[in-house]
């Protein structure tokens, strides 16, 4: 059974959005369900701070053993911080996807886009 925390928002592509201490900055990573589907993560390719992405744009890739998958930005905004520690330890994505395995922090440019993301109940139904 995948962990779907109640205080997060989710995209249909299995990225999550988590509040930070800064009002308009959110933490982004892939969900527990997604990391389980991928298997052991061996590489995460992330953007640089300062880059901007629109919702749905590819902001990086994640590679499990043999398989590369794109990462899609769940919300439009500017990357303000990248989890560089995943370079040495990409396995954090598997062991702690909502904590140490976070990928980027993004300053969102359009608050209303959050309304189009899935809540925990909707995401739970989505992953069936």
């Amino acid at each position: 059974m995948s962990d779907v925390p109640a205080d997060l928002l989710y995209s249909e592509e299995h990225e999550y959005l988590k509040k930070t201490e800064t009002a308009d900055v959110y933490q982004v990573g892939i969900t527990d369900y997604a990391q389980g589907e991928l298997g052991d993560v061996v590489y995460v390719e992330l953007p640089s701070a300062g880059e901007t992405y629109t919702r749905g744009a590819v902001f990086g890739t994640v590679e499990a053993v043999k398989a590369v998958s794109d990462l899609y930005c769940p919300i439009s905004g500017e990357i303000v911080e990248v989890n560089a520690s995943l370079g040495d330890d990409p396995g954090k994505v598997n062991s702690d996807p909502y904590g140490a395995g976070w990928m980027v922090k993004i300053r969102i440019s359009d608050e209303t886009e959050r309304d189009t993301l899935l809540g925990p109940d909707e995401y739970t139904k989505h992953i069936g």
Partner: protein, 298 residues
């Protein structure tokens, strides 16, 4: 990222597959020249992936490589590990794949690629397993006792991995006598999956060792990290020639593999050429895959 819930109809839900051989440009529908350059082969696979995203049916493709080519995994290190001068001197091309995994020397082999939506195959991981089952089934048609490996776990980031693909089988890969016969890699993007892999016909993957260097491979980068130590030659691979005692006929192998895929996925393969849009897109993509900035990006 793109993934899909499990399906109860993993092997039977993907009917109506296309079959493309080589560049798909021959006079006989679906039977073009089998071999092409690394950049052309990667461009056609990527063009087929994009075609499926626009509503096309699943595709099974077979091809070979001319000239011989070292392919790199999308995210693996190459600068400082592989020597471009040695590659050129040996007449070996180099290309970086869109898929994951590690380096493969494509010479005397048959390559397969599958393009499909992951959902009908039960998701990306289930697709990996079922495609490998189809390969095993095809090999059995040739009288080869192949099976799927229990596998070894790869540890550490792939970006720092120096061992070639055929050094050891990953879980689920196709082996014979405990040695790796088919090495595969996968990419998922926007609801589509590409999996391709090398079926070793003859020759030796140990040649990969000769392409390694402690020197710097061009283009040199001031930001390039210190080169990792070269790995030992891959000893874990085996070829169809070793298993059957004779040089395999590539068209017989293709026919056997087609049978394996038709049985496993409950489909009838329809031979045909690349579409006009796919040809145009592939020609555009050749520039990307033939670009040194992409090939030596890491």
């Amino acid at each position: 990222m793109t993934t899909a819930p499990d399906s109860s109809d993993r092997d039977g839900g993907a009917g109506g597959w296309r079959l493309i051989v080589g560049t798909g440009s021959g006079a006989v529908p679906g039977v073009g020249p089998v071999a092409a350059s690394g950049a052309v082969n990667m461009a056609i696979d990527q063009a087929l992936l994009e075609s499926l995203q626009q509503g096309g049916p699943p595709v099974l493709r077979f091809y070979a490589w001319q000239p011989a080519c070292l392919s790199l995994g999308r995210n693996q290190a190459a600068r400082g590990l592989y020597d471009a001068d040695r590659l050129a001197a040996a007449g070996i091309d180099v290309v970086r794949r869109p898929t994951g995994g590690l380096a493969v020397l494509h010479d005397r082999e048959l390559t397969y690629s599958v393009v499909s939506a992951p959902g009908p195959l039960g998701g990306a991981r289930a697709a990996y397993a079922s495609i490998n089952r189809a390969l095993v089934e095809g090999l059995r048609c040739l009288g080869i006792a192949a099976e799927q490996a229990a596998g070894l776990k790869i540890r550490g980031p792939v970006s720092q991995a120096a061992e070639p693909c055929f050094q050891a089988p990953a879980a689920g890969e196709v082996v014979a006598g405990g040695r790796k016969l088919v090495g595969s890699a996968q990419r998922c993007e926007r609801g589509a999956l590409l999996q391709h892999g090398s079926i070793l016909l003859s020759g030796s993957q140990a040649r990969v060792r000769d392409l390694l260097s402690r020197g710097v491979a061009p283009p040199a980068s001031p930001a390039a990290p210190a080169p990792p130590a070269p790995p030992a030659a891959p000893e874990g691979s085996i070829t169809l020639e070793e298993l059957s005692g004779r040089e395999p006929d590539v068209h017989a192998v293709i026919a056997a593999m087609c049978s394996g895929f038709e049985r496993t996925f409950g489909t009838r393969l329809a031979p045909g050429p690349l579409g006009q849009r796919e040809n145009v897109r592939a020609k555009q993509l050749v520039r990307r895959f033939g670009n040194d900035e992409w090939t030596w990006r890491r």
